[in-house]
Symmetry: C2
Amino acid sequence: MVSKLEAAMEGLIKVFHTYSSKEGDKYKLSKAELKSLLQGELSDFLAASKDPMVVEKIMSDLDENRDGEVDFQEFVVLVAALTVACNEFFVESMKN
Amino acid sequence: MVSKLEAAMEGLIKVFHTYSSKEGDKYKLSKAELKSLLQGELSDFLAASKDPMVVEKIMSDLDENRDGEVDFQEFVVLVAALTVACNEFFVESMKN
């Protein structure tokens, strides 16, 4: 029996590999794969940003080792930051 | 319609608050709450560690601001590290 936390962790891994396996290195996101992931999985977040360069900026921020691809560790940094922001929003709305 | 990635992020937030709301600060994990979370959600991980001090060590590692409690951001660091380790295991098993 998988716990809720294990299910969430498994979900992160599955989502990453669904997109990273499409082209090139199967275990890294190219810029096109990252864009596809953001559009498919975080469309509300993308729509909320009016910046047409948002995908390029996220890619540049995440790609710490400057190889033009985002590996799983770099992806987790994005998800962690977004989840912390969501949690802060949730906590504030609970307090008010 | 919630995407798989959004569901995973929501799962992390829900799990944290399920345990953090039990006593004291509703938005932070006390040591007892952290122990309860690890036992309830990551029992296989806990069982794999033979170290009787593992909960104390995790608490000490996570509690960056030394207030004796683990906030959501500190918790996400643990989950991120565990998920990266799980992914590496998964990728290695796929390659072999």
